[in-house]
Symmetry: none
Subunit: 210 residues, 4 copies
């Protein structure tokens, strides 16, 4: 009754991990571009394949199905920014404002041009239909960020109004989300500058920089 199964391979050469990695990367690039441009549903496997310069069937050699490809692409995407975030050491005696600026502003300078904004938009757009992915993104990106914000803000005791940021660390991320959404939907040709807006947010909350 069973028609298939895994059997050990005896003689013969081993697969070439280099080439496999190369092809996966090819697919990854093509898929990323298409997913970012069209989202999950409107992206057709045929387009990904042809953009990658491969045949349709080849995609299925590396990914079980469209969903697996999508999840792989997004995992690659979210696993990268985390590294930078974790690595940054927090200087002693740094003010909350200075810390947030140091943490966020460089990342926001090339937010659109680096493609990070598009990635964030993709996660916002498809996240609710891929809860597993959203969960990964939350664990790898959102929560570490929230914890960092929390630490920075709590460090600065006494400032009564800033307790708000401690209760809702999401407020710090709000300008970033807003910038991503705004530039994706409502901005016509005049895109918002995420970094400038974030600094304005810091000004609004903490007053002008010293």
């Amino acid at each position: 009754m069973k028609c298939d199964g895994m059997f050990p391979r005896g003689r013969g050469r081993l697969p070439d991990p280099e080439r496999t990695a190369q092809t996966r990367k090819l697919i990854w690039h093509a898929a990323l571009a298409n997913f970012l441009a069209c989202g999950f549903e409107r992206t057709r496997m045929a387009d990904v394949a042809s953009r990658a310069g491969l045949a349709k069937g080849t995609l299925y050699l590396h990914f079980a199905d469209k969903e697996a490809l999508f999840e792989f692409v997004l995992q690659q995407l979210v696993s990268e920014p985390l590294a930078r975030l974790q690595a940054a050491p927090v200087p002693a005696g740094e003010s909350a404002r200075a810390g947030l600026e140091r943490l966020f502003v460089p990342m926001l300078r090339d937010f659109e041009s680096s493609g990070r904004a598009a990635v964030l938009r993709l996660i916002i757009t498809e996240g609710s239909r891929f809860p597993a992915l959203a969960e990964i993104h939350r664990r790898l990106v959102i929560e570490p960020m929230m914890r960092l914000v929390d630490r920075m803000v709590q460090a600065e005791a006494g400032a009564v109004e800033r307790l708000a940021l401690s209760r809702f660390p999401q407020l710090v991320g709000a300008p970033v989300i807003m910038a991503a959404v705004w530039n994706g939907i409502w901005a016509g040709d005049e895109k918002l500058d995420p970094a400038a807006m974030f600094v304005a947010f810091l000004d609004a909350v903490f007053g002008p920089p010293a």
Copy 2:
């Protein structure tokens, strides 16, 4: 000269505007529910029809195609909150903080339960693929709101750090967008309270209420 237009005809009766409106409403409700739950692509016309208690063909008597239906649904949606916004008169001598609280907090109290959060999520999710719609939404909802915010914030002169809100009135909307996105994607079971978060935002920027 034909004069029978004023009298009800026996056979070949005229379209009954009442009934037509009734049917459109039926479709509208059904479509809204499905679009909110599944987004544009995953919503099938057959489901909308079935939920509306109608046949598939009937939908096409009232809407040219799926896109037209979607656009109609969203237009209905965005044209409503505007009315309230425009109608509210601004009390003289009101502080920026008080004004923003008066304007936003009531709307945010039932943000999720009223379905407005879901609508905002839908616009965020599908907006980039329906630029015409996003444009309408911008004109009817976003821009008036931005103008209101602008007026309120500019009224209060002198507060140096608050010029930020004048340069980026989107900052005021950021907590709302963040709440909608957060609750749609990253919040597990512990949803954010949009109103509470907005008040915290006001606290962070303006200090605690008088």
Copy 3:
């Protein structure tokens, strides 16, 4: 999260069962022909559709998938001969030989030309891959036949060698199966005559007719 569901249909006309039955019959004929000619795997839905003069999609309006269509076709097939079998009354005092002859020979006269042989071959060919179907066929056709044979053979007591048929009523069916298989595979142009072979079988077991 749920994107579909069953909702009651309100106003409007009822579906026309006549037309539906007509179309199902069209599909049934086309599918039967193709399945008999090619078996399950080699039959393509596109061929069934075009033979039925319908579009591919129409098939799926009436049958969930290829397997459902196949099962429907075979159920139609096996439910028919049963009726005749059940209806035949057993004359009192009839000999086993006479009874078996009366029961089987008419059915075998047009075994090939009636298509019953082809049907049997189809069941033999695909049965092992559609156990549910084989089970139905067993219940509706094989077992009643076995019971009839059993009754006929047991009626005639004393004949020592015929106890064999009682222990293995399948032996009575064996010539039929053999004829079907033989004509399907090994007979070149000289097909076996199933009725003649069955009579020869009766002769071999019971001796020449009285």
Copy 4:
């Protein structure tokens, strides 16, 4: 004149017939298992390769295509039992019944466990779609058997009713075919015992053994 054919060459070594035969056998075993379990269409080359512990491409070094592999497998299969059949000498003065019993019963004792039943089922199942194969099987297995039966039955002159077996020697094979088909399709867990059924058949035709 080149004379190096008699010596082993250093580089570019000649094909090693031993190894080739070894590999073909590997493939043959794997393919047989899969074809018996799944039939022709449902057997995938990838599975055969994997079961053989080889790469897919290797199969094509030894067999032109899937059909050639299938035909090879079945040829191997049918060419074996013939040997035994031909080799058996017919004792002088043996009764038809004794001869048939001697010829068939040992072969039927381990009919299922030896895999011969499965092979027969495979031929029955796929034969009509591989006429060339069925033809080979007919020539190598069926016809010799029919001739043997014929000789045995004709040897015993006078028994009027047994002329039937002479006219339709297939009747002798019918219980075997029936057993194979029955056990493949209609038998649930209670498999028929082919040898017992064949003996019952002989009892029914020839009366109990002397």
